[in-house]
């Protein structure tokens, strides 16, 4: 175990030590740290809570193929030790040594993509990450890349044009030229665990599951985190002191994915974006839902394990995981057990994970082709938003047109993500027709007593829940009750 965080900034290896009473602290965010340096004040703080993208920086990591993978993240939600082993790139790094602007910066100049300019460094970094990944992105891809960058001035049109105009700018840039050196520099950073203790606060970043379980046993009250998007808010927003943290983001095994004929397996620390990329090739209902999960900068940090661990009633992955029949893998000192998602969720932000256990993965079975699964999310703004109401439905319709097996899972309708069991039973064996669905919709209202809050009133939630079911029916059955769509598909409500 070492106590120094190593990362690359301005092309150089930085060794960061922590001392009691000194600066930075273990829960200092990457944003605060960068802004404390003289050369990185271009990184802006707009909210310190993951909502605006002004703080966007790009992290580069070895992609396993000898190259580097670039991703945009909100630096305001990133605890410093989490950058161990990564390259941090800020807006100041994009100019070449003679001061020439990077292609994405030049496109922003040409299109007037900057007004007051306060969002601009973040926007530039989102576009940079996009162009390091895609050579000629389409409009939807540009919009998706900047959906997490709020801009109060431009109306986005000029920014989108800049994103489209910067074609090819990522390919031959200075980062391309320097990638080999950075790659080796990053690989030279030891991968073993970190243990930082300063002024009574403890931050451990184990490198194996065993080390993590040990730490958990020693400190059952420590906060466990994977991506920290939920946990960081407690510090940045509520100014809370968290005495002890166990950070799982450094455990390679938890960042792994596996695919078999029967199922997909995602380690707990796989990011939402990575899950989405895989899901696009095999679990469309999940991919569709994740496409509207937070923003890209959030998806690049937030994890599937964290989403389950938070157990929010509006957690976006949860209804669809329920509908897909996914299981959560829990590892404890006594071994591994698997629980269906429904059993995992025990109450409002409560799970069945014991204090000597960790969530280590999520297993999602492949769905037979005669079963349709779709997921929906309704919120007041299309992106950068968590759901007001979400739903995932699964249905198998027999050759004679009757329902054989239905799962209706809802988020935002109760204290936790829940199935509508009575309505599911009602549907069983009945013809998959508008008439049946109308009756099922009426029944749904009795199954839930949804909350009223900022995001939606109880009656709105109930109405949306009913209508989503209707929408699902309309999309999966023709006017005469025949099944029209065979493939499972994710859609944004």
């Amino acid at each position: 175990m070492q106590s120094t965080v190593l990362f690359v900034l301005d092309g150089q290896l930085v060794r960061l030590g922590f001392s009691p009473g000194g600066y930075p602290h273990v829960t200092t965010t990457l944003l605060q740290y960068l802004r404390s340096l003289p050369g990185h004040r271009g990184v802006k703080e707009g909210c310190a809570e993951g909502d605006c993208g002004a703080c966007t920086v790009v992290l580069a990591e070895p992609d396993g193929d000898g190259g580097l993978r670039y991703r945009a993240v909100d630096s305001c939600l990133f605890f410093l030790p989490m950058i161990h082993g990564k390259q941090v790139i800020t807006v100041e790094n994009l100019r070449d040594p003679s001061g020439n602007l990077h292609g994405v910066q030049q496109a922003m100049v040409d299109e007037f993509g900057s007004q007051c300019g306060f969002c601009t460094p973040g926007v530039v970094m989102s576009l940079f990450a996009l162009h390091k990944t895609l050579s000629a992105p389409k409009r939807e891809q540009v919009v998706d890349a900047i959906a997490g960058n709020l801009c109060r001035c431009t109306g986005y049109r000029s920014i989108i044009d800049a994103g489209l105009g910067a074609v090819g700018s990522g390919a031959g840039d200075q980062f391309h030229a320097d990638a080999g050196r950075i790659h080796d520099l990053l690989l030279s950073i030891p991968r073993d665990g970190l243990m930082i203790e300063t002024g009574g606060r403890r931050y451990s970043r184990p490198s194996t599951i065993e080390e993590a379980l040990d730490a958990r046993r020693r400190e059952p009250d420590a906060v466990v985190l994977c991506g920290a998007t939920d946990t960081a808010l407690r510090v940045t927003k509520n100014h809370e002191e968290i005495p002890s943290i166990i950070d799982l983001s450094g455990i390679a095994a938890l960042r792994a994915q596996r695919r078999t004929d029967a199922a997909f397996f995602f380690g707990a620390a796989v990011t939402i974006q990575e899950v989405m990329d895989t899901a696009e090739k095999g679990i469309p209902s999940l991919a569709g839902m994740l496409a509207v999960f937070g923003s890209r900068q959030i998806r690049n940090i937030a994890t599937i394990g964290g989403n389950v661990g938070t157990a929010s009633p509006i957690g976006d992955t949860l209804p669809v995981l329920v509908a897909l029949g996914a299981e959560i893998e829990l590892t404890g000192s006594h071994g591994v057990r698997r629980l269906p998602v429904e059993e995992m969720l025990t109450g409002y932000r409560r799970t069945a994970c014991r204090s000597d256990e960790l969530i280590t993965g999520v297993s999602i079975p492949r769905i037979p082709s005669d079963i349709t699964v779709r997921a929906y999310k309704v919120s007041r703004r299309a992106d950068l938003d968590i759901s007001t109401v979400s739903a995932a439905f699964r249905v198998r319709v027999d050759g004679d047109g009757t329902v054989d097996g239905a799962i209706l899972a809802f988020g935002g309708m109760a204290e936790k993500v829940r199935r509508a069991r009575s309505t599911e039973e009602f549907l069983q064996g009945r013809p998959w027709t508008r008439e049946t669905v109308d009756k099922a919709m009426a029944g749904l209202s009795d199954e839930f007593r949804p909350l009223c809050d900022v995001r939606g009133s109880a009656s709105f939630r109930a109405a949306v829940a009913r209508n989503l079911l209707l929408k699902f029916w309309a999309e999966t059955a023709g006017a005469n009750g025949q099944r029209a769509v065979a493939s499972a598909e994710g859609v944004h409500g």
Binding site: G46, V91, Q115, C116, C151, C153, G155, Y156, S158, K471
Partner: protein
């Protein structure tokens, strides 16, 4: 004046002299009107631009403010002992600190409060402030201060606040006096009408939320105060600070180079700036404050919520015979005004108009001017009403508006407008949008229904005419422009440099702009109210023309010809008569000897007997999902008469930005107060207070400049743009939603929740 006054000032047409002969607006231009990128774009995209939040001075302390967590409370007791002894804490201010015992003014209403008022009238009212050696230590110290509050009954809603026995926000009750203005005879007008409609429209409280939160850095040098402020107007901040500290203006320097947006919320001096300056004086160290995002939701202004009852009478031929608006609004806990009436009085021809407006106090953050204060609200009511009237008399909504386009301002004794481009905005906009075809063919049935809508607008203020610019031409042919105006993102520096380039033939790259510093630049009014280009560009042009005139005189002398024989292009003097010669400016001896030519330009008064105002019409196509209540804007066309388009890029950006803000106002943004229980704002963050993202703006988005070649408004032919861009947007969307669904949504914003409930009601009641 406050921008909320119902009737804009009856500015008697110019008492000054007419514009000097010879400085008519340009005919053809070389630089002005092109797509020139911003002159400071490099700094902005490379992270090199230094904003107030980025300023760091040696020894600088960080301030944070403790704010009242209740909507209405008295501070009974405070215990500072723990906070005082925390490491790094250098100073604490409360209402008991003698140095902080200052009155606080709201407009011209006299001292209505104090810097730290122990009677807290809204959540977020200032209770104490700390300066510490790091931001987190300052926040930690705030947490260590214990305050005993006496919680008082509060009121969060306009209707509740007006009731008998409602908890008074101020002594004397919550209801301000009714301000009435009337012309003609509305009773007669309604009697003449063939159709009379009446409807109550409501808009929600909207927040500015600029990207850079409010921030100041204060430093004292003896009795001289320097403040870096994220502000829209350095001179305004300077003047008020000087008053608070009893200093001559000359001892207060305010600098605001780069600033991250304001939209009106940074038009005035904030308490946080005064507090920061006091802490800096007490500690004899520079102090910086950056408000948190949450604070910007609570206590630095908003667009007030309004309840507008509008009654309108129309004849079958499309003549509007009477309009009667009764508006009640709330600018929060202190007087900020919530008037909206202007558009009803001036946008369309109508002889009989009555406007009655009342402002009501509630226990919530005080309003500040927000992009076109009052106008989007009024457009929400008036433009939906116009739509409804048109359909009642069977007239196309565009035709109906065209029939009522005014050529003169009815609020100013029927003084003619210099130009009224409203007609062109409507016809050109409709043509580009494909209005007639869309109206005829759009699909209004099924689950996903489409509809189209139009709304018009104008801005009601010509802007200030007090502005001075200084242009310096150096011997090497490069130039410096010195203006007091803040560039709040609109491209002020760029546009002004283009004016200099136009007149002096100096390339844009060789012009530097010095701006927004009270010590080094000349006076300019605050950048707001769509006046920045209008107020400053004519002064800049005059300064440049003065330099040009002097330069040509010198050149004529040196080259032994007459001024008429010379032209000034691309940084060189050219002779028009033989022998043909081109002398680069740096080779001009007479300039070299003088080292520098200086021109000073003062803005001329507005034209006599004419009113220069901008107009707009916007067109929207929407798609409504009747199962989820979600609305998607698929297409948007905006046509604007803002006089001369100075720069295609700044023009487009203003318009698209204004539309995005209008989309927020119309479809997602509103302050939600927990009226029933705590009275606190429950969505004081960008997660729950939703401003549009890239996903929410229309994929098809066009804007047109309808330039009527206004030769009278001023010497650059410009009218305002920033405000008009956001005025009709929400109403155009609402009209499109009506077209799609037959549902008139009277409450802004149109959330899916609201629309779904209305759709359900419609299903029950049958489609009207």
């Amino acid at each position: 004046m406050t921008l909320y006054d119902t009737t804009m000032p009856d500015d008697k047409p110019a008492d000054g002299q007419p514009a000097p002969a010879g400085l008519k607006p340009w005919g053809e231009t070389k630089v002005v009107g092109t797509r020139a990128p911003r002159i400071d774009a490099y700094e902005r995209v490379s992270g090199a631009a230094i904003y107030t939040q980025d300023i760091s001075l040696p020894g600088m302390l960080h301030a944070a403010i403790l704010r009242c967590p209740h909507p209405h409370a008295n501070v009974r007791r405070m215990d500072l002992s723990k906070a005082k002894n925390m490491p790094g804490v250098r100073a604490i201010l409360t209402h008991e600190s003698p140095s902080a015992d200052l009155p606080w003014f709201f407009g011209d209403k006299g001292p209505m409060s104090k810097l730290f008022d122990p009677h807290c009238r809204y959540e977020g009212d200032e209770v104490a402030a700390v300066a510490a050696d790091s931001p987190h230590r300052a926040w930690d110290a705030l947490k260590a201060i214990t305050v005993e509050y006496e919680e008082l009954p509060f009121v969060s809603e306009i209707e509740e606040a007006m009731k008998e026995g409602a908890p008074p926000v101020h002594e004397g009750g919550n209801r301000g006096r009714v301000r009435t203005s009337e012309r003609g005879d509305i009773a007669k007008g309604f009697a003449e009408a063939d159709v009379v409609l009446e409807e109550t429209y409501r808009t929600s409280c909207e927040l500015h939320t600029p990207m850079e939160t409010h921030a100041s850095v204060a430093q004292w040098d003896g009795s001289r105060l320097t403040v870096w402020d994220s502000t829209q107007g350095v001179f305004d901040v300077q003047k008020t600070l000087a008053q608070y500290f009893g200093l001559p203006s000359s001892s207060v320097r305010v600098i605001g180079h780069y600033m991250g947006g304001g939209f009106g919320s940074k038009l005035e001096l904030g308490k946080y700036t005064v507090i920061t300056a006091l802490l800096a004086r007490d500690t004899a160290l520079p102090v910086k404050i950056c408000l948190s995002r949450e604070e910007t939701f609570l206590c630095v202004g908003n667009r007030p919520a309004n309840i507008m009852q509008l009654k309108a009478g129309v004849k079958n031929d499309g003549t509007i015979s009477a309009l009667h608006l009764v508006n009640v609004g709330s600018g929060g806990a202190y007087p900020a005004g919530s008037g909206v009436g202007y558009l009803v009085q001036d946008l369309y021809l109508c002889r009989n108009v009555k406007v009655e407006e009342t402002n009501v106090f509630i226990n919530a953050g005080t309003a500040r001017a927000m992009r076109a204060p009052g106008f989007p609200q009024c457009a929400w009511a008036l433009e939906q009403m116009m739509d409804a009237l048109a359909s009642k008399i069977g007239m196309d909504p565009v035709e109906f508006r065209l029939k009522n386009v005014p050529a003169y301002s009815q609020t100013r004794n029927n003084t003619p407008f210099t130009t009224t481009g409203l007609k062109e905005c409507l016809t050109e906009g409709a043509r580009v949008f494909g209005w007639k075809e869309a109206k005829a063919t759009i699909r209004r049935e099924g689950t996903i229904r489409r509809g189209v809508g139009v709304a018009a607008g104008m801005w009601g203020w010509e802007g200030s005419t007090v502005s001075t610019a200084i242009v310096k031409l150096f011997a090497d042919g490069s130039a410096n422009l010195n203006i007091g105006a803040s560039d709040i993102g609109t491209g002020t520096k760029t546009v002004m440099a283009m004016v200099v380039a136009e007149e002096l033939g100096v390339p844009l790259e060789r012009i530097q702009v010095e701006n927004a510093d009270t010590a080094t630049t000349s006076f300019a009014p605050s950048s707001g109210g769509s006046q920045t280009v209008v107020a400053n560009s004519p002064a800049v042009r005059k300064a440049a023309v003065e330099v040009r005139t002097r330069l040509l005189e010198l050149a004529a002398e040196e080259l032994k010809c007459t001024v008429a024989d010379l032209s000034l292009n691309d940084g060189a003097i050219q002779t028009l008569t033989a022998p043909a010669r081109t002398v680069p400016l740096h080779e001009l001896q007479s300039l070299a000897q003088r080292e520098m030519l200086v021109g000073v330009g003062h803005r001329d008064p507005h034209p006599q007997g004419k009113i220069p105002l901008p107009f707009a019409a916007q067109f929207a196509e929407v798609e409504v999902n009747t199962r989820t209540g979600e609305t998607r804007i698929v297409k948007f066309v905006a046509a604007h008469d803002s006089g001369r388009m100075m720069n295609r890029l700044t023009f487009e950006n203003q318009v698209f930005g204004g539309i995005a803000m209008g989309i927020g106002f119309g479809t997602s943004e509103r302050r939600i107060l927990d009226a029933g229980q705590t009275g606190k704002m429950v969505n004081a963050n960008w997660h729950d207070y939703k401003i549009p993202t890239a996903v929410d703006v229309p994929p098809e988005h066009t804007c047109i400049s309808v330039d009527p070649h206004d030769t009278e408004c001023n010497n650059t032919g410009t009218k305002g743009l920033g405000e008009p861009a956001t005025i009709p947007t929400a109403a155009a969307i609402a009209n499109a939603i009506f077209d799609a669904t037959g549902i008139r949504v009277t409450q802004a914003p149109v959330t899916p929740m609201q629309l779904l409930a209305l759709l359900a009601g419609q299903e029950k009641g049958g489609r009207q």
